[in-house]
Protein backbone atom coordinates (compact mmCIF):
# COMPACT_ATOMS: atom_id res chain seq x y z
CA UNK A 1 0.00 0.00 0.00
CA UNK A 2 2.68 2.45 0.97
CA UNK A 3 4.61 1.80 -2.21
CA UNK A 4 1.42 2.40 -4.16
CA UNK A 5 1.02 5.77 -2.56
CA UNK A 6 4.68 6.57 -3.08
CA UNK A 7 4.37 5.60 -6.74
CA UNK A 8 1.25 7.64 -7.08
CA UNK A 9 2.87 10.69 -5.54
CA UNK A 10 5.88 10.25 -7.77
CA UNK A 11 3.89 10.01 -10.99
CA UNK A 12 1.72 12.94 -9.96
CA UNK A 13 4.73 15.07 -9.22
CA UNK A 14 6.43 14.09 -12.46
CA UNK A 15 3.27 14.91 -14.36
CA UNK A 16 2.98 18.25 -12.61
CA UNK A 17 6.61 18.92 -13.37
CA UNK A 18 6.15 18.62 -17.12
CA UNK A 19 6.08 21.82 -19.09
CA UNK A 20 2.75 22.39 -20.82
CA UNK A 21 2.26 24.02 -24.18
CA UNK A 22 0.69 27.07 -22.59
CA UNK A 23 3.70 27.64 -20.40
CA UNK A 24 6.16 27.31 -23.25
CA UNK A 25 4.04 29.69 -25.31
CA UNK A 26 4.02 32.17 -22.41
CA UNK A 27 7.79 32.38 -22.30
CA UNK A 28 8.17 32.35 -26.08
CA UNK A 29 5.83 35.33 -26.31
CA UNK A 30 7.77 37.05 -23.55
CA UNK A 31 11.01 36.48 -25.47
CA UNK A 32 9.38 37.62 -28.72
CA UNK A 33 8.50 41.01 -27.21
CA UNK A 34 12.24 41.67 -27.20
CA UNK A 35 11.98 42.02 -30.98
CA UNK A 36 8.39 43.03 -31.58
CA UNK A 37 7.77 45.70 -28.99
CA UNK A 38 11.03 47.67 -28.91
CA UNK A 39 9.33 50.93 -27.89
CA UNK A 40 7.75 49.30 -24.82
CA UNK A 41 10.87 47.84 -23.28
CA UNK A 42 11.01 50.28 -20.37
CA UNK A 43 7.56 49.37 -19.13
CA UNK A 44 8.06 45.68 -19.94
CA UNK A 45 11.16 45.79 -17.78
CA UNK A 46 9.10 47.16 -14.90
CA UNK A 47 6.47 44.49 -15.46
CA UNK A 48 9.04 41.72 -15.29
CA UNK A 49 10.54 43.11 -12.09
CA UNK A 50 7.15 43.45 -10.41
CA UNK A 51 6.34 39.96 -11.66
CA UNK A 52 9.44 38.53 -10.05
CA UNK A 53 8.67 40.39 -6.83
CA UNK A 54 5.13 39.02 -6.82
CA UNK A 55 6.48 35.55 -7.58
CA UNK A 56 8.61 35.75 -4.48
CA UNK A 57 5.58 36.77 -2.41
CA UNK A 58 3.70 33.86 -3.92
CA UNK A 59 6.31 31.49 -2.56
CA UNK A 60 5.50 32.47 1.02
CA UNK A 61 1.86 33.47 0.68
CA UNK A 62 0.59 31.05 -1.91
CA UNK A 63 2.71 28.09 -1.00
CA UNK A 64 3.40 28.52 2.69
CA UNK A 65 0.41 30.62 3.74
CA UNK A 66 2.29 33.42 5.50
CA UNK A 67 0.41 36.70 5.14
CA UNK A 68 3.11 39.36 4.82
CA UNK A 69 2.52 43.09 4.75
CA UNK A 70 6.22 43.91 4.68
CA UNK A 71 7.65 42.08 1.73
CA UNK A 72 9.08 45.37 0.47
CA UNK A 73 11.72 45.06 3.20
CA UNK A 74 13.60 42.49 1.11
CA UNK A 75 12.92 44.25 -2.17
CA UNK A 76 14.24 47.49 -0.72
CA UNK A 77 17.26 45.88 0.89
CA UNK A 78 18.16 44.26 -2.44
CA UNK A 79 17.72 47.55 -4.27
CA UNK A 80 19.88 49.45 -1.80
CA UNK A 81 22.56 46.75 -1.74
CA UNK A 82 22.89 46.70 -5.51
CA UNK A 83 22.64 50.47 -5.72
CA UNK A 84 25.27 51.17 -3.07
CA UNK A 85 27.68 48.64 -4.58
CA UNK A 86 27.32 50.23 -8.00
CA UNK A 87 27.73 53.73 -6.61
CA UNK A 88 30.92 52.74 -4.85
CA UNK A 89 32.55 51.38 -7.95
CA UNK A 90 31.58 47.71 -8.10
CA UNK A 91 29.62 48.12 -11.29
CA UNK A 92 29.30 44.52 -12.40
CA UNK A 93 25.54 43.82 -12.51
CA UNK A 94 25.75 40.12 -11.71
CA UNK A 95 27.92 40.79 -8.69
CA UNK A 96 25.31 43.27 -7.52
CA UNK A 97 22.55 40.71 -8.01
CA UNK A 98 24.41 38.11 -6.03
CA UNK A 99 25.18 40.54 -3.22
CA UNK A 100 21.55 41.69 -3.10
CA UNK A 101 20.29 38.10 -3.03
CA UNK A 102 22.65 37.21 -0.19
CA UNK A 103 21.85 40.33 1.83
CA UNK A 104 18.12 39.80 1.45
CA UNK A 105 18.45 36.10 2.20
CA UNK A 106 20.30 36.85 5.44
CA UNK A 107 17.63 39.32 6.50
CA UNK A 108 14.98 36.80 5.46
CA UNK A 109 16.64 34.04 7.45
CA UNK A 110 16.95 36.16 10.58
CA UNK A 111 13.42 37.55 10.43
CA UNK A 112 11.88 34.22 9.48
CA UNK A 113 12.11 33.14 13.10
CA UNK A 114 9.85 36.05 13.96
CA UNK A 115 7.02 34.87 11.75
CA UNK A 116 6.98 31.29 12.96
CA UNK A 117 4.91 32.13 15.99
CA UNK A 118 1.57 33.75 16.51
CA UNK A 119 -1.56 34.27 14.51
CA UNK A 120 -1.99 35.77 11.06
CA UNK A 121 -2.32 39.13 12.71
CA UNK A 122 0.97 38.82 14.58
CA UNK A 123 2.76 37.77 11.40
CA UNK A 124 1.23 40.65 9.55
CA UNK A 125 2.34 43.11 12.21
CA UNK A 126 5.82 41.67 12.51
CA UNK A 127 6.47 41.72 8.77
CA UNK A 128 5.07 45.22 8.56
CA UNK A 129 7.26 46.23 11.50
CA UNK A 130 10.41 44.83 9.88
CA UNK A 131 9.73 46.83 6.72
CA UNK A 132 9.06 49.98 8.75
CA UNK A 133 12.26 49.56 10.75
CA UNK A 134 14.24 49.14 7.54
CA UNK A 135 12.54 52.20 6.08
CA UNK A 136 13.50 54.21 9.17
CA UNK A 137 17.09 53.01 8.95
CA UNK A 138 17.32 53.93 5.26
CA UNK A 139 15.82 57.31 6.06
CA UNK A 140 18.18 58.07 8.95
CA UNK A 141 21.40 56.66 7.48
CA UNK A 142 21.49 59.27 4.75
CA UNK A 143 25.29 59.14 4.56
CA UNK A 144 24.88 55.63 3.17
CA UNK A 145 21.56 55.68 1.37
CA UNK A 146 21.11 59.31 0.41
CA UNK A 147 18.09 59.50 2.73
CA UNK A 148 15.04 61.24 1.36
CA UNK A 149 16.93 62.47 -1.71
CA UNK A 150 17.45 58.95 -2.93
CA UNK A 151 20.58 57.13 -3.91
CA UNK A 152 22.19 58.92 -6.80
CA UNK A 153 25.21 58.34 -8.96
CA UNK A 154 24.63 54.70 -9.85
CA UNK A 155 26.56 53.78 -13.00
CA UNK A 156 26.31 50.20 -14.17
CA UNK A 157 28.98 48.34 -16.09
CA UNK A 158 28.14 46.05 -19.00
CA UNK A 159 26.53 42.70 -18.22
CA UNK A 160 29.17 39.92 -18.34
CA UNK A 161 31.46 42.61 -19.71
CA UNK A 162 29.61 42.41 -23.03
CA UNK A 163 26.23 44.13 -23.04
CA UNK A 164 26.00 47.82 -22.18
CA UNK A 165 22.73 49.19 -20.84
CA UNK A 166 21.05 51.41 -23.44
CA UNK A 167 18.56 54.23 -23.09
CA UNK A 168 15.72 52.32 -24.75
CA UNK A 169 15.81 49.72 -22.02
CA UNK A 170 16.34 46.81 -24.41
CA UNK A 171 19.38 45.42 -22.61
CA UNK A 172 17.69 46.09 -19.28
CA UNK A 173 14.58 44.21 -20.33
CA UNK A 174 16.51 41.29 -21.76
CA UNK A 175 18.57 41.16 -18.59
CA UNK A 176 15.57 41.27 -16.23
CA UNK A 177 13.67 38.76 -18.32
CA UNK A 178 16.56 36.31 -18.36
CA UNK A 179 17.14 36.56 -14.64
CA UNK A 180 13.43 36.19 -13.93
CA UNK A 181 13.17 33.20 -16.26
CA UNK A 182 16.07 31.44 -14.57
CA UNK A 183 14.69 32.11 -11.12
CA UNK A 184 11.26 31.00 -12.30
CA UNK A 185 12.66 27.66 -13.45
CA UNK A 186 14.21 27.12 -10.04
CA UNK A 187 11.02 28.08 -8.24
CA UNK A 188 9.00 25.84 -10.51
CA UNK A 189 11.31 22.95 -9.82
CA UNK A 190 10.99 23.60 -6.09
CA UNK A 191 7.22 23.76 -5.93
CA UNK A 192 6.68 20.52 -7.81
CA UNK A 193 9.19 18.70 -5.62
CA UNK A 194 8.16 16.79 -2.50
CA UNK A 195 9.47 19.80 -0.61
CA UNK A 196 6.90 21.98 -2.38
CA UNK A 197 4.19 19.47 -1.50
CA UNK A 198 5.15 19.62 2.14
CA UNK A 199 4.88 23.42 2.01
CA UNK A 200 1.35 23.18 0.70
CA UNK A 201 0.37 20.80 3.42
CA UNK A 202 1.75 23.25 5.98
CA UNK A 203 -0.30 26.00 4.42
CA UNK A 204 -3.48 23.96 4.49
CA UNK A 205 -3.11 22.53 7.96
CA UNK A 206 0.04 23.21 9.98
CA UNK A 207 -1.09 21.04 12.86
CA UNK A 208 -1.69 18.00 10.70
CA UNK A 209 1.51 18.63 8.78
CA UNK A 210 3.46 18.56 12.02
CA UNK A 211 1.65 15.42 13.07
CA UNK A 212 2.67 13.51 9.94
CA UNK A 213 6.28 14.40 10.60
CA UNK A 214 6.96 17.42 8.44
CA UNK A 215 9.48 19.71 10.16
CA UNK A 216 7.19 22.71 9.86
CA UNK A 217 9.46 25.39 11.25
CA UNK A 218 12.48 24.37 9.23
CA UNK A 219 10.44 24.34 6.02
CA UNK A 220 9.02 27.77 6.73
CA UNK A 221 12.43 29.22 7.52
CA UNK A 222 13.80 27.81 4.27
CA UNK A 223 11.02 29.08 2.05
CA UNK A 224 10.98 32.48 3.75
CA UNK A 225 14.71 32.84 3.18
CA UNK A 226 14.34 31.78 -0.44
CA UNK A 227 11.49 34.20 -1.06
CA UNK A 228 13.50 36.98 0.57
CA UNK A 229 16.41 36.30 -1.78
CA UNK A 230 14.07 36.42 -4.77
CA UNK A 231 12.62 39.72 -3.61
CA UNK A 232 16.15 41.02 -3.12
CA UNK A 233 17.03 40.12 -6.69
CA UNK A 234 13.90 41.88 -7.93
CA UNK A 235 14.90 44.99 -6.01
CA UNK A 236 18.44 44.79 -7.35
CA UNK A 237 17.11 44.53 -10.91
CA UNK A 238 15.07 47.67 -10.35
CA UNK A 239 18.04 49.56 -8.93
CA UNK A 240 20.37 48.47 -11.73
CA UNK A 241 18.03 49.05 -14.65
CA UNK A 242 16.63 52.39 -13.46
CA UNK A 243 19.96 53.45 -11.87
CA UNK A 244 18.14 55.10 -9.00
CA UNK A 245 16.95 54.00 -5.57
CA UNK A 246 14.66 56.03 -3.33
CA UNK A 247 12.97 55.40 0.00
CA UNK A 248 9.95 54.46 -2.06
CA UNK A 249 11.33 50.91 -2.47
CA UNK A 250 10.69 50.29 1.22
CA UNK A 251 7.36 52.07 1.47
CA UNK A 252 4.22 50.40 2.71
CA UNK A 253 2.39 50.89 -0.57
CA UNK A 254 4.98 48.73 -2.29
CA UNK A 255 4.17 45.81 -0.02
CA UNK A 256 0.48 46.46 -0.55
CA UNK A 257 0.87 46.78 -4.32
CA UNK A 258 2.73 43.52 -4.67
CA UNK A 259 0.00 41.78 -2.73
CA UNK A 260 -2.54 43.30 -5.07
CA UNK A 261 -0.53 42.19 -8.09
CA UNK A 262 -0.44 38.66 -6.79
CA UNK A 263 -4.12 38.66 -5.98
CA UNK A 264 -5.06 39.92 -9.43
CA UNK A 265 -3.06 37.14 -11.02
CA UNK A 266 -4.08 34.53 -8.48
CA UNK A 267 -2.33 33.14 -5.44
CA UNK A 268 -0.75 29.74 -5.32
CA UNK A 269 0.45 29.05 -8.84
CA UNK A 270 3.66 30.58 -10.03
CA UNK A 271 2.26 32.40 -13.05
CA UNK A 272 -0.07 34.39 -10.81
CA UNK A 273 2.57 36.98 -10.03
CA UNK A 274 3.67 37.36 -13.64
CA UNK A 275 0.15 37.60 -15.06
CA UNK A 276 -0.88 39.91 -12.24
CA UNK A 277 2.09 42.17 -13.00
CA UNK A 278 1.01 42.51 -16.63
CA UNK A 279 -2.60 43.26 -15.72
CA UNK A 280 -1.63 45.63 -12.90
CA UNK A 281 0.82 47.64 -14.97
CA UNK A 282 -1.52 47.91 -17.93
CA UNK A 283 -4.36 48.96 -15.61
CA UNK A 284 -2.13 51.49 -13.90
CA UNK A 285 -1.05 52.84 -17.26
CA UNK A 286 -4.60 53.18 -18.56
CA UNK A 287 -6.06 54.63 -15.36
CA UNK A 288 -3.25 57.07 -14.71
CA UNK A 289 -3.42 58.31 -18.28
CA UNK A 290 -7.06 59.04 -17.61
CA UNK A 291 -6.82 60.41 -14.07
CA UNK A 292 -3.16 60.73 -13.10
CA UNK A 293 -3.55 61.84 -9.49
CA UNK A 294 -6.29 59.56 -8.34
CA UNK A 295 -5.52 56.24 -9.92
CA UNK A 296 -5.16 54.75 -6.44
CA UNK A 297 -8.90 55.10 -5.95
CA UNK A 298 -9.64 52.79 -8.85
CA UNK A 299 -6.97 50.32 -7.79
CA UNK A 300 -8.62 50.26 -4.36
CA UNK A 301 -12.00 49.73 -5.91
CA UNK A 302 -10.71 46.85 -8.00
CA UNK A 303 -9.25 45.28 -4.88
CA UNK A 304 -12.55 45.58 -3.00
CA UNK A 305 -14.47 44.12 -5.92
CA UNK A 306 -12.07 41.23 -6.33
CA UNK A 307 -12.46 40.30 -2.67
CA UNK A 308 -16.23 40.68 -2.66
CA UNK A 309 -16.60 38.72 -5.87
CA UNK A 310 -14.72 35.85 -4.30
CA UNK A 311 -11.01 35.90 -4.90
CA UNK A 312 -10.61 32.16 -4.76
CA UNK A 313 -13.36 31.50 -7.26
CA UNK A 314 -11.74 33.88 -9.74
CA UNK A 315 -8.35 32.28 -9.23
CA UNK A 316 -9.82 28.83 -9.61
CA UNK A 317 -11.29 29.81 -12.95
CA UNK A 318 -8.00 31.22 -14.19
CA UNK A 319 -6.17 28.16 -12.97
CA UNK A 320 -8.54 25.74 -14.69
CA UNK A 321 -8.21 27.74 -17.85
CA UNK A 322 -4.46 27.66 -17.49
CA UNK A 323 -4.41 23.93 -16.95
CA UNK A 324 -6.54 23.48 -20.04
CA UNK A 325 -4.06 25.59 -21.98
CA UNK A 326 -1.19 23.61 -20.57
CA UNK A 327 -2.68 20.46 -22.02
CA UNK A 328 -3.14 18.77 -18.70
CA UNK A 329 -6.72 17.61 -18.76
CA UNK A 330 -8.26 17.23 -15.36
CA UNK A 331 -9.81 13.90 -16.36
CA UNK A 332 -6.56 11.97 -16.54
CA UNK A 333 -5.76 12.95 -12.96
CA UNK A 334 -7.74 11.44 -10.12
CA UNK A 335 -9.63 14.03 -8.15
CA UNK A 336 -7.39 13.73 -5.12
CA UNK A 337 -5.58 16.99 -4.80
CA UNK A 338 -2.06 17.27 -3.52
CA UNK A 339 -3.09 18.33 -0.06
CA UNK A 340 -4.79 15.01 0.53
CA UNK A 341 -1.88 12.85 -0.52
Amino acid sequence: MSTNIADYVRTTLVRRGRWGIGEIAFWLIAAATLYFLPERHLILNEIVIIGLFALSLDLILGYAGIVSLGHAAFFGLGAYTAGILARDGLTDPLLGLAAAAIAAAILGFVTSFLVLRGSDLTKLMVTLGVALVLGEIANQASWLTGGADGLQGIAMGPILGLFEFDIFGTTAYAYSLTVTFLLFIIARRIVVSPYGLSLRSIRDNPLKARAVGIPVNRRLVAVYTLAAAYAGVAGALLAQTTQFVSLDVLAFHRSADVMLVLVIGGVGYLYGGLIGAIVFKVLQDVISAWTPQYWQFWIGLILVIIVLAGRERLTERVRTFWKGMAGRTAKTLPKTSAREV
Binding site: L61, V67, L69, L114, R117, G118, S119, D120, L121, T122, L124, M125, V126, L128, G129, V130, L132, V133, E136, I137, N139, Q140, F252, H253, A256, M259, L260, V263, V267, Q293, Y294, W295, Q296, F297, I299, G300, L301, I302, L303, V304, I306, V307, L308, R311
Partner: protein, 291 residues
Protein backbone atom coordinates in the same frame (compact mmCIF):
# COMPACT_ATOMS: atom_id res chain seq x y z
CA UNK B 1 23.00 65.57 30.04
CA UNK B 2 20.35 66.50 32.55
CA UNK B 3 16.84 67.74 32.10
CA UNK B 4 14.87 69.74 34.58
CA UNK B 5 12.30 67.71 36.41
CA UNK B 6 9.57 69.94 35.05
CA UNK B 7 10.39 69.00 31.49
CA UNK B 8 10.03 65.36 32.45
CA UNK B 9 6.62 66.01 33.94
CA UNK B 10 5.53 68.04 30.94
CA UNK B 11 6.58 65.27 28.63
CA UNK B 12 4.75 62.77 30.77
CA UNK B 13 1.66 64.93 30.64
CA UNK B 14 1.83 65.38 26.87
CA UNK B 15 2.47 61.68 26.49
CA UNK B 16 -0.59 60.81 28.53
CA UNK B 17 -2.73 63.14 26.45
CA UNK B 18 -1.33 61.63 23.27
CA UNK B 19 -1.89 58.12 24.59
CA UNK B 20 -5.48 58.85 25.59
CA UNK B 21 -6.08 60.21 22.13
CA UNK B 22 -4.61 57.06 20.60
CA UNK B 23 -6.89 54.98 22.77
CA UNK B 24 -10.03 56.77 21.63
CA UNK B 25 -8.84 56.44 18.05
CA UNK B 26 -8.01 52.77 18.36
CA UNK B 27 -10.60 51.36 20.75
CA UNK B 28 -13.08 50.75 17.95
CA UNK B 29 -10.39 48.66 16.31
CA UNK B 30 -9.85 46.81 19.57
CA UNK B 31 -13.40 45.57 19.22
CA UNK B 32 -13.44 44.73 15.50
CA UNK B 33 -9.94 43.33 15.40
CA UNK B 34 -9.60 42.07 18.93
CA UNK B 35 -13.04 40.81 19.74
CA UNK B 36 -14.54 40.11 16.32
CA UNK B 37 -11.20 38.97 14.88
CA UNK B 38 -11.58 41.06 11.76
CA UNK B 39 -8.35 42.57 10.41
CA UNK B 40 -9.60 46.03 9.56
CA UNK B 41 -6.74 48.14 8.25
CA UNK B 42 -9.23 50.81 7.18
CA UNK B 43 -9.96 51.93 10.72
CA UNK B 44 -7.91 55.10 10.26
CA UNK B 45 -10.18 56.12 7.41
CA UNK B 46 -13.06 56.58 9.86
CA UNK B 47 -10.84 58.68 12.09
CA UNK B 48 -9.90 60.76 9.07
CA UNK B 49 -13.58 61.20 8.21
CA UNK B 50 -14.23 62.62 11.68
CA UNK B 51 -11.27 64.95 11.41
CA UNK B 52 -12.43 66.27 8.06
CA UNK B 53 -15.97 66.80 9.32
CA UNK B 54 -14.61 69.07 12.03
CA UNK B 55 -12.09 70.82 9.80
CA UNK B 56 -14.57 71.48 7.01
CA UNK B 57 -17.36 72.65 9.31
CA UNK B 58 -15.03 74.98 11.15
CA UNK B 59 -13.14 76.40 8.19
CA UNK B 60 -15.92 76.64 5.63
CA UNK B 61 -19.07 77.13 7.68
CA UNK B 62 -17.61 78.75 10.76
CA UNK B 63 -19.19 76.28 13.20
CA UNK B 64 -17.52 76.47 16.64
CA UNK B 65 -15.13 73.67 17.55
CA UNK B 66 -17.20 72.05 20.29
CA UNK B 67 -20.34 72.01 18.19
CA UNK B 68 -18.56 70.05 15.46
CA UNK B 69 -17.54 67.23 17.79
CA UNK B 70 -20.95 65.46 17.92
CA UNK B 71 -21.05 65.50 14.14
CA UNK B 72 -17.49 64.19 14.00
CA UNK B 73 -18.85 61.24 15.93
CA UNK B 74 -22.15 60.79 14.09
CA UNK B 75 -20.95 61.04 10.48
CA UNK B 76 -18.26 58.33 10.71
CA UNK B 77 -20.66 56.21 12.77
CA UNK B 78 -23.23 56.34 9.99
CA UNK B 79 -20.60 55.62 7.36
CA UNK B 80 -19.41 52.73 9.50
CA UNK B 81 -22.92 51.40 9.93
CA UNK B 82 -23.64 51.53 6.21
CA UNK B 83 -20.34 49.90 5.29
CA UNK B 84 -20.77 47.23 7.96
CA UNK B 85 -24.26 46.33 6.76
CA UNK B 86 -23.34 46.32 3.08
CA UNK B 87 -19.73 45.13 2.89
CA UNK B 88 -17.97 44.25 6.12
CA UNK B 89 -20.49 41.67 7.32
CA UNK B 90 -19.86 39.54 4.25
CA UNK B 91 -16.22 39.25 5.23
CA UNK B 92 -16.44 38.20 8.87
CA UNK B 93 -16.02 34.56 7.97
CA UNK B 94 -13.45 35.04 5.24
CA UNK B 95 -9.72 34.47 5.54
CA UNK B 96 -7.50 37.13 7.03
CA UNK B 97 -5.89 37.67 3.66
CA UNK B 98 -9.24 38.62 2.17
CA UNK B 99 -9.92 41.00 5.03
CA UNK B 100 -6.50 42.61 4.63
CA UNK B 101 -6.96 43.07 0.90
CA UNK B 102 -10.46 44.41 1.28
CA UNK B 103 -9.54 46.95 3.93
CA UNK B 104 -6.40 48.08 2.08
CA UNK B 105 -8.64 48.64 -0.93
CA UNK B 106 -10.93 50.78 1.23
CA UNK B 107 -7.96 52.78 2.54
CA UNK B 108 -6.70 53.48 -0.98
CA UNK B 109 -10.17 54.63 -1.99
CA UNK B 110 -10.57 56.84 1.08
CA UNK B 111 -7.16 58.45 0.61
CA UNK B 112 -7.79 59.23 -3.05
CA UNK B 113 -11.36 60.39 -2.44
CA UNK B 114 -10.34 62.83 0.31
CA UNK B 115 -7.46 64.04 -1.82
CA UNK B 116 -9.89 64.64 -4.68
CA UNK B 117 -12.47 66.44 -2.54
CA UNK B 118 -10.34 68.54 -0.21
CA UNK B 119 -6.85 68.60 -1.71
CA UNK B 120 -3.69 67.01 -0.39
CA UNK B 121 -2.66 69.84 1.95
CA UNK B 122 -2.74 69.72 5.75
CA UNK B 123 -6.05 70.77 7.25
CA UNK B 124 -5.52 73.30 9.99
CA UNK B 125 -8.10 74.03 12.63
CA UNK B 126 -8.24 77.07 14.83
CA UNK B 127 -8.91 76.09 18.43
CA UNK B 128 -11.11 78.39 20.50
CA UNK B 129 -9.19 80.82 22.67
CA UNK B 130 -9.96 79.16 25.98
CA UNK B 131 -8.27 75.96 24.81
CA UNK B 132 -5.05 77.61 23.68
CA UNK B 133 -1.90 78.16 25.62
CA UNK B 134 -0.38 76.59 28.70
CA UNK B 135 -0.78 77.25 32.34
CA UNK B 136 1.63 76.71 35.16
CA UNK B 137 0.54 74.23 37.80
CA UNK B 138 3.09 73.68 40.59
CA UNK B 139 5.89 74.54 38.18
CA UNK B 140 4.73 72.14 35.50
CA UNK B 141 3.72 73.48 32.11
CA UNK B 142 0.29 72.09 31.32
CA UNK B 143 -1.30 72.60 27.91
CA UNK B 144 -4.95 73.56 28.15
CA UNK B 145 -5.97 71.66 25.05
CA UNK B 146 -4.17 68.56 26.23
CA UNK B 147 -5.92 68.76 29.59
CA UNK B 148 -9.19 69.02 27.70
CA UNK B 149 -8.30 65.88 25.74
CA UNK B 150 -7.37 64.02 28.89
CA UNK B 151 -10.67 64.92 30.55
CA UNK B 152 -12.81 63.93 27.56
CA UNK B 153 -10.91 60.77 26.76
CA UNK B 154 -10.71 59.77 30.42
CA UNK B 155 -14.50 60.10 30.70
CA UNK B 156 -14.88 58.00 27.55
CA UNK B 157 -12.62 55.29 28.91
CA UNK B 158 -14.63 55.04 32.12
CA UNK B 159 -17.90 55.03 30.21
CA UNK B 160 -16.68 52.32 27.83
CA UNK B 161 -15.48 50.15 30.65
CA UNK B 162 -18.84 50.51 32.40
CA UNK B 163 -20.79 49.76 29.23
CA UNK B 164 -18.72 46.70 28.52
CA UNK B 165 -18.83 45.24 32.04
CA UNK B 166 -22.02 46.50 33.65
CA UNK B 167 -24.69 46.78 31.00
CA UNK B 168 -26.81 44.19 29.28
CA UNK B 169 -25.45 45.31 25.93
CA UNK B 170 -21.91 44.75 27.14
CA UNK B 171 -22.56 41.21 28.29
CA UNK B 172 -24.41 40.46 25.05
CA UNK B 173 -21.48 41.78 23.07
CA UNK B 174 -19.04 39.62 25.00
CA UNK B 175 -21.29 36.62 24.54
CA UNK B 176 -21.64 37.27 20.82
CA UNK B 177 -17.89 37.50 20.47
CA UNK B 178 -17.10 34.44 22.55
CA UNK B 179 -19.39 32.16 20.61
CA UNK B 180 -21.68 33.70 18.00
CA UNK B 181 -23.56 30.47 17.43
CA UNK B 182 -24.50 29.86 21.02
CA UNK B 183 -25.30 33.52 21.49
CA UNK B 184 -27.62 33.36 18.52
CA UNK B 185 -29.19 30.25 19.96
CA UNK B 186 -29.92 32.15 23.16
CA UNK B 187 -31.85 34.72 21.21
CA UNK B 188 -29.21 37.42 21.00
CA UNK B 189 -29.32 39.34 17.76
CA UNK B 190 -25.63 38.93 16.99
CA UNK B 191 -25.49 40.77 13.71
CA UNK B 192 -27.32 43.76 15.22
CA UNK B 193 -24.82 43.84 18.07
CA UNK B 194 -21.88 43.65 15.70
CA UNK B 195 -23.32 46.43 13.54
CA UNK B 196 -23.96 48.67 16.55
CA UNK B 197 -20.49 48.03 17.91
CA UNK B 198 -18.87 48.67 14.56
CA UNK B 199 -20.75 51.93 14.12
CA UNK B 200 -19.92 53.01 17.67
CA UNK B 201 -16.25 52.18 17.17
CA UNK B 202 -16.15 54.10 13.91
CA UNK B 203 -17.81 57.03 15.61
CA UNK B 204 -15.25 57.01 18.41
CA UNK B 205 -12.47 56.90 15.83
CA UNK B 206 -14.05 59.89 14.13
CA UNK B 207 -14.21 61.75 17.42
CA UNK B 208 -10.57 60.88 18.03
CA UNK B 209 -9.67 62.13 14.57
CA UNK B 210 -11.43 65.42 15.27
CA UNK B 211 -9.81 65.86 18.67
CA UNK B 212 -6.44 64.85 17.30
CA UNK B 213 -6.44 67.02 14.17
CA UNK B 214 -4.51 69.67 16.09
CA UNK B 215 -1.95 67.26 17.58
CA UNK B 216 -1.54 64.51 14.98
CA UNK B 217 -2.08 66.59 11.87
CA UNK B 218 -4.71 65.85 9.26
CA UNK B 219 -4.12 65.16 5.60
CA UNK B 220 -5.29 62.49 3.15
CA UNK B 221 -2.52 60.06 4.12
CA UNK B 222 -3.72 59.98 7.73
CA UNK B 223 -5.11 56.39 7.61
CA UNK B 224 -1.81 55.01 6.33
CA UNK B 225 0.38 57.10 8.62
CA UNK B 226 -1.37 56.04 11.80
CA UNK B 227 -2.46 52.55 10.81
CA UNK B 228 0.58 51.06 12.48
CA UNK B 229 -0.10 52.96 15.72
CA UNK B 230 -3.65 51.65 15.94
CA UNK B 231 -2.48 48.13 15.23
CA UNK B 232 0.21 48.41 17.89
CA UNK B 233 -2.31 49.52 20.48
CA UNK B 234 -4.54 46.57 19.78
CA UNK B 235 -1.98 43.82 19.31
CA UNK B 236 0.33 44.89 22.10
CA UNK B 237 -2.53 45.65 24.43
CA UNK B 238 -4.22 42.34 23.90
CA UNK B 239 -7.87 42.05 23.27
CA UNK B 240 -9.89 40.52 26.04
CA UNK B 241 -10.60 43.75 27.87
CA UNK B 242 -10.23 47.42 27.16
CA UNK B 243 -7.75 47.97 29.96
CA UNK B 244 -5.01 46.25 27.94
CA UNK B 245 -5.33 48.51 24.90
CA UNK B 246 -5.70 51.48 27.25
CA UNK B 247 -2.42 50.77 29.02
CA UNK B 248 -0.76 50.06 25.68
CA UNK B 249 -1.89 53.40 24.26
CA UNK B 250 -0.60 55.24 27.31
CA UNK B 251 2.77 53.49 27.02
CA UNK B 252 2.93 54.14 23.30
CA UNK B 253 1.95 57.78 23.73
CA UNK B 254 4.52 58.45 26.44
CA UNK B 255 7.25 56.52 24.64
CA UNK B 256 6.57 58.37 21.40
CA UNK B 257 6.55 61.84 22.94
CA UNK B 258 9.60 61.14 25.10
CA UNK B 259 11.45 59.55 22.17
CA UNK B 260 10.82 62.55 19.95
CA UNK B 261 12.00 64.89 22.70
CA UNK B 262 15.14 63.11 23.92
CA UNK B 263 16.37 61.17 20.86
CA UNK B 264 14.80 62.80 17.81
CA UNK B 265 17.36 61.23 15.46
CA UNK B 266 16.19 57.73 16.24
CA UNK B 267 12.66 58.55 15.18
CA UNK B 268 10.02 55.88 15.23
CA UNK B 269 12.67 53.20 15.05
CA UNK B 270 12.45 52.33 18.76
CA UNK B 271 8.70 51.93 18.73
CA UNK B 272 8.69 49.56 15.77
CA UNK B 273 11.50 47.51 17.25
CA UNK B 274 9.77 47.32 20.62
CA UNK B 275 6.57 46.24 18.91
CA UNK B 276 8.36 43.40 17.14
CA UNK B 277 10.03 42.29 20.35
CA UNK B 278 6.77 42.33 22.29
CA UNK B 279 4.90 40.47 19.58
CA UNK B 280 7.55 37.83 19.29
CA UNK B 281 7.87 37.27 23.02
CA UNK B 282 4.19 37.62 23.82
CA UNK B 283 2.10 37.09 20.70
CA UNK B 284 -1.08 37.32 22.78
CA UNK B 285 -0.26 40.84 23.95
CA UNK B 286 1.51 42.39 26.91
CA UNK B 287 -1.27 42.35 29.44
CA UNK B 288 -2.79 38.98 28.93
CA UNK B 289 -2.12 35.56 30.23
CA UNK B 290 -1.01 33.08 27.61
CA UNK B 291 -3.78 30.84 26.46
Amino acid sequence: MSFPENAVLTILFDGIAYGMLLFVLACGLAVTLGLMNFVNLAHGAFAMAGGYVTAVLMNRSGVPFLATLPLAFIVPAIIGLVLERTLYKRLYTRSHLDQVLFSIGLVFMAVAAIDYSFGSQQQLIQLPGWLQGRIDILGVQVGLYRSFIIVICGALVVALQLILTKTRFGSRLRAAVDDPRVARGLGINVSLIFATTFAFGSGLAGLGGALGAEILGLDPTFPLKFMIYFLIVVTVGGTTSITGPFLASLLLGIADVAGKYYVPSVGAFVIYTLMIVVLVLRPQGLFERAR
